[in-house]
Amino acid sequence: MTTLTPTPAGPPDLTPDSTADTRALLAGMDTRRRVTDKVMTGLVVASFVIALIPLISVSWTVLSNGLDRFNLNFLSVSMRGVFGGMDAGGIYHAIMGTLEITALAALISVPIGLLAAIYLVEYGRGALAHTVTFFVDVMTGIPSVVAGLFAYALFAVVFGPGVRFGVVGAVALSVLMIPVVVRSCEEMLRLVPNELREAALALGVPKWLTVVKVVLRTAIAGIGTGIMLAVARVIGETAPLLITVGVIDSINFNVFDGRMMTLPVYVYRQYSQGLVPCNDPAAICIPTINYDRAWAAALTLILIVMLLNLAARLLTRVFAPKTAR
């Protein structure tokens, strides 16, 4: 704040001297304020630029390190019979595991999440709705590793300790996915103009048919986008799958029996195996083979996530004009 000494009432004393004084006073104050303003602007811009550094760095390192091994062979073979520094092995089993488990998780969480969102928007009144809204928010903060422990504990009650198969992982992922689905579906349903509901109800359509045929149909693109973003969020989860689904080198398509490999866990597994000691000069041996595979798998994972994000954006764009009104 600029504080000026109060001028006495009456005609201002406009001698050249006092004008210069006032100007100097104002300019002096302004310099400090202007410098502060400039410095803060600099800091604000700098903070944005700083945030770009890790983004660019992660993208660049994953791309440059992962491209070497990223080829058709890598995508189409498993790790069965691969050991030491062999120039072989791939992620086919991990991709399949990730797709199956994530699809199953989506199958569990989308109906629950969508119905809960419908409840909150169309029916929810009073204490229960408030509680659900609040705890959906709280649930988004559950650590992923705790979700994994929960799924394990749940299935261990039935199948005994040491239980590891695909469905357990899918349940763990759904715990993480449901709140995200509820949130995005709720947002989309609220965007549907009330006039549409009122028009349908005025024509004598029952409320539930109004919801199914009018509200859901109007919001379908947004809901699809939300679900895709939710899938993109859980597809990279590692810790819960490490706990519930475990690790395996060969292909397992059966989500109801036996361990499965998933892409994020594959990345971790290769990373934790570290450098390979190469002592036999006769055999082909790449010391960094595990890291190379980890980078290539990470590249695949990021590509999948980015594709999902892109698809979600395209979906909104394609359907946006229809739902805009």
């Binding site: 659900v132 709280v138 649930m139 903060g141 559950i142 650590p143 749940l154 539930w208 994972l301 990021i302």
Partner: protein, 308 residues
């Protein structure tokens, strides 16, 4: 009048809402059931039967340092991340050109799209070697400050490196919440400040930040909740220990609950699993409290904000 189908639909939807509450309750119940063998074990039994359990300690003595490590890593991540996030949010909401705001926000959201295991890989293989000189410099020049006491470990698989990566990971959520709040700051207040001759920064300080304070606090707590539960980045970078240590630049000092679970779980026997679930229960309670506090602040702000 509601027919049978209408009633069935309403009850199904309500059931789905209630199911979410049931799931949250089930998480607590099943964790307690599975953790019970460890919680009720007589003294000495745990260290007898579990090979990685420290000799002569009770369950609480075991969890204590893990809780400390978890809180420490998350707190430092928050300290690093907070000013940056507020700056980025201000940049997007009040400094950048209006038309670019959405795109810039999307760029920051991309940081959240990167899976945590990729952050771990990047941190473990690429970032760690590059941090060594910086940490060594810190230890040399600020070694008198206990947390920075040297010598800095090489390779720096230390808690400060972990927190740096965690800070990057929680940046998007803090920024998103702050941005949302800053955008809601009453435009009339901003214009009034500018009309009185305030510079842009003074306008931000007088009109935007005071309005956004509750939002900033809850954003910080949401970020804290994220950082507390983050597993892979810690697991892949930190060289763990089990001490109540403040040393940020030395290896083998701290460990977090989540990383410890992921590290020990695959090889643990039933009692070991039970012990790990007990630590998981502690983590669940901590994050639940933090998240509930954050959400309560956000919810209260919505009720009393007269701005909209």
């Amino acid at each position: 009048m509601e027919g049978f189908a209408g009633r069935a639909f309403r009850w199904t939807a309500t059931g789905a809402g209630a199911l979410i509450l049931a799931v949250l309750a089930a998480v607590a119940v099943f964790l307690i059931i599975r953790a019970w063998p460890a919680m009720s074990a007589r003294s000495g039994e745990l260290s007898e039967k579990i090979n990685w359990f420290p000799e002569g300690q009770s369950l609480l003595q075991f969890i204590g340092p893990l809780v400390w490590g978890t809180l420490l890593a998350a707190a430092i991540a928050l300290i690093i991340s907070m000013p940056l996030s507020v700056g980025i949010a201000l940049f997007i909401s009040h400094y950048a050109p209006r038309r670019l705001a959405n795109t810039l926000g999307y760029v920051i959201d991309l940081l959240a799209a990167i899976p945590s295991v990729v952050y771990g890989l990047w941190g473990g293989l690429w970032l760690i070697p590059k941090l060594q000189p910086a940490w060594a410099w810190l230890a040399d020049n600020f070694g008198w400050f206990p947390p920075f006491a040297g010598p800095a470990s090489d390779p720096p698989r230390v808690i400060l490196s972990v927190s740096l990566v965690l800070a990057v990971m929680i940046l998007p959520i803090i920024t998103a919440v702050c941005r949302e709040v800053f955008l809601q700051a009453p435009v009339l207040h901003e214009e009034a400040a500018l009309a009185l001759g305030a510079t842009r920064w003074e306008m931000v300080r007088m009109a935007v930040l005071p309005f956004g304070r509750p939002g900033i606090i809850s954003a910080a707590m949401l970020g804290l909740g994220r950082a507390l539960g983050e597993t892979m980045a810690v697991l892949m970078i930190l060289s763990p220990g089990a001490l109540y240590s403040l040393a940020l630049l030395k290896v083998g000092q701290q460990q977090t609950i989540a990383a410890n679970i992921a590290l020990q779980f695959p090889e643990a026997d039933p009692l070991g699993v039970s012990t790990l679930i007990a630590t998981g229960l502690a983590l669940f309670v901590i994050t639940l409290v933090v998240n509930m506090a954050a959400r309560a602040i956000v919810a209260r702000r919505k009720d009393f904000s007269g701005a909209n």
